[in-house]
């Protein structure tokens, strides 16, 4: 009997503990983020983020990531450019190499933990082409407009971070690139559809003795 009571007490204590954590929730946080307005392609860019709590007290040891939404050909998503921990003053200073030309929507991200709520901050960086050519170019071979010139021709294009069913479905469509293939497929499958329609006509024809 004593064992049952003891087990019940322990279980209740555990539940209460869990509830306590849940009730306490995560403390709100604030993230500030600064980056240079402009950088040259290939240059090492240094950015700084600072994470504080609601009272403005620095949060040390938190993991801060610098991410940017990038697109390469038909794929895209958030790319982590740098990741590190905040020091005792809540500061995280990171650097990365500017590898794409154009405006770069940088985000400092604190993903949150058991104690602190997640936070994000934005900064805009414009990368301009300098003496160093782009590190990667897609343009090789013969260029046929709309066939092998993907969006953001000659550079990695930027996209807004969207992840909806519609945006995914639209990503399957070739947009401009690949239109000759899409066109040929449409023609051929239309003929197939016509043949299937004729099959329905055969099935729907009045049956009877052949004339």
């Amino acid at each position: 009997m004593n064992r049952v009571i003891a087990a019940t007490v322990i279980a209740l204590a555990m539940l209460a503990g869990g509830a306590g954590i849940a009730l306490a929730g995560s403390a709100p946080t604030r993230l500030t983020f600064s980056a240079p307005a402009q950088a040259t392609l290939g240059e090492r860019v240094t950015v700084q983020a600072r994470l504080v709590d609601a009272q403005g007290e620095p949060i040390s040891g938190a993991t801060i990531a610098i991410v940017a939404p990038l697109r390469f050909l038909n794929g895209g998503g958030d790319v982590v450019l740098w990741e590190g921990r905040a020091d005792k003053n809540g500061n995280a200073v990171g650097s990365f190499e500017a590898r794409v030309v154009g405006p770069l929507a940088l985000r400092a991200v604190f993903r949150g933990d058991q104690l602190y709520a997640p936070a994000e901050a934005l900064a805009e960086l414009k990368v301009v082409e300098g003496a160093t050519p782009p590190l990667y170019r897609e343009r090789v071979g013969v260029h046929l407009p709309g066939l092998n010139e993907p969006p953001g021709f000659g550079q990695v294009a930027l996209i807004e971070p969207q992840d909806t069913v519609i945006s995914r479905a639209l990503a399957l469509w070739p947009a401009m690139s690949g239109w000759p293939i899409a066109g040929a497929l449409i023609v051929i499958w239309s003929v197939y559809a016509s043949v299937v329609r004729l099959l329905f006509r055969i099935a729907a024809a009045p049956s009877g003795a052949p004339r």
């Binding site: 050909l73 038909n74 293939i181 055969i202 024809a205 009877g208 052949p210 004339r211």
Partner: protein, 465 residues
């Protein structure tokens, strides 16, 4: 109901001849011998072994194959190209011959179209088998690049498979109706239901004939460019890769020619086997063999010309890695395979067909077998010897297929044979209505006294409805 419009008979068609044609065409659908089941069991056993081998590959990864980082395609991709090649047998050949209104081929178009669908089904498995992570197949579509020949290949093969299936099905409709009407109540219920549904209520009325003719015409026109595009795209998987031996502008045309070449050989072999097993000697005569043999002989010349043009052009310049490539092909590690292909696949079959003494059914079938075997070798050489040419200053890699690859290859051939075996039991292997309506009996062809085994059949009773 009558499936065939007997008012549309070809010249020379007598009721007795038509009766024999219908009986022979439908006979395989009505009875199954013990040998058939033993054959099916053997094929299933081989497929089972291949599945075990594939399970080892899935479990341990591609390390159980002979493929490594430098020669990263092997037996699987060679077989993929081979099977896609022989798939050209049916649809392309049958469509071209239909367009040109050749009548002699009508008794073999069905077999050819079987080969197309079955070879495509089997061939399309190989890229999947070649993938270390087949669960990522969908990524090819979701993250596929429209600029990539790999994605073109997916579109081309799926489009061709759909078209070939339609093209196989259309001329089957009147034959399904014939089977529905003639098999009678003794046929299994599922089989009667299958024929009834698949016949689409066909009674051969003018409206139905018009719709069917139009559908076949549409398909035979559209399927030719689709078929050509499929093997061209397969060649571009190689041709658009920066590899010495793949740098060729004629690769697309060469692949298409090779596909038709091996496709014709596949038809001849299947024709010989089914003719013998199903006692179709009266309807598949020497004419079909000789005509297809002539086509095959023409393609030995076309292939030889392609090879000569390729090797002379590159051999004259000997640029980049070509000295190495030529050495490995002609005197090096691949020389036995290479000369087997040149002599056994081009010279000997050509001579067999062109020599009147050997231009017989047995000779042409032997030539076709040689062509099939050596065309697989040729595909192997394109893939493996091509990838063996070093891109940088390192020692040439080596590739030896493992038991896993050979087992899976055996399983693929067994699957091919099994599907053909099952098809021959489910569908008439001769396009009965087309032969009766458009070709008729061949001059000089006599009915053979083939042994009539007792069968569970109602054919002898005539029309059931």
């Amino acid at each position: 109901m009558e499936a065939l419009d007997r008012g549309h008979a070809a010249p020379g068609v007598t009721p007795e001849w038509r009766e024999r044609l219908e009986r022979r065409g439908l006979a395989p659908l009505t009875g199954t011998s013990r040998r058939y089941w033993i054959w099916v069991a053997f094929l299933l056993a081989v497929i089972g072994w291949a599945l075990y081998a594939y399970s080892r590959q899935l479990d341990e990864g591609l390390i159980v194959t002979g493929m490594r980082d430098r020669i990263l395609w092997g037996v699987y991709i060679a077989s993929f190209v081979f099977f896609i090649g022989i798939s050209h047998a049916g649809t392309l050949l049958s469509a071209i011959l239909r367009v040109t209104k050749a009548r002699w081929q009508l008794s073999v178009t069905r077999m050819a179209e079987f080969i197309t669908v079955v070879a495509l089904l089997v061939g399309a498995l190989f890229p999947l088998i070649d993938m270390g992570r087949p669960d990522r197949l969908l990524n090819m579509i979701v993250y596929g690049r429209w600029q990539s020949p790999l994605l073109w290949d997916i579109f081309a093969i799926s489009t061709y498979l759909t078209g070939s299936t339609l093209y196989l099905y259309l001329p089957l409709i009147p034959d399904f109706a014939l089977a529905r009407d003639r098999l009678g109540p003794t046929a299994a219920r599922w089989r009667r239901s299958l024929f009834t549904i698949a016949a689409l209520g066909w009674t051969g009325t003018p409206e139905q004939r018009k719709a069917l003719d139009r559908a076949i015409s549409l398909m035979m026109i559209v399927i030719i460019p689709v078929a050509v595009s499929v093997h061209t795209v397969v060649s571009w998987i190689f041709g658009m890769t920066l590899r010495v031996s793949f740098n060729s502008t004629i690769l697309g045309a060469y692949f298409v020619a090779g596909a038709i070449f091996s496709g014709i050989a596949a038809i001849v072999v299947l024709m010989a086997v089914l003719r013998k097993l199903l006692h179709l000697e009266e309807f598949i005569t020497k004419t079909q063999f000789v005509n297809l043999g002539y086509l095959m002989a023409a393609f030995t010349l076309i292939m030889g010309y392609g090879n000569l043009s390729e090797y002379i052009t590159h051999g004259y310049k000997m640029e980049g890695g070509f000295p190495f490539h030529f050495e490995q092909l002609m005197t090096g590690p691949f020389s036995i395979l290479f000369w087997s292909y040149i002599v056994g696949g081009l010279v000997v079959p050509g001579l067999i067909i062109l020599c009147p003494r050997t231009r017989r059914i047995a000779g042409i079938t032997t030539a076709a077998v040689l062509v099939l075997v050596t065309m697989w070798i040729e595909r192997y050489l394109i893939v493996v010897a091509g990838l063996r040419v070093p891109l940088m200053a390192y020692e040439p890699a080596s590739y030896t297929p493992t038991w896993v690859e050979f087992s899976i290859l055996a399983g693929a051939f067994a699957l091919f044979a099994l599907l053909i075996t099952l098809f021959a039991k489910l569908f008439p292997v001769i396009s009965v209505w087309e032969v009766a309506d458009h070709r008729g009996p061949e001059p000089g062809s006599e009915p053979l006294a083939a042994p009539e085994r007792p069968r569970r059949t109602a054919l002898a009773e005539g029309s059931a409805t």
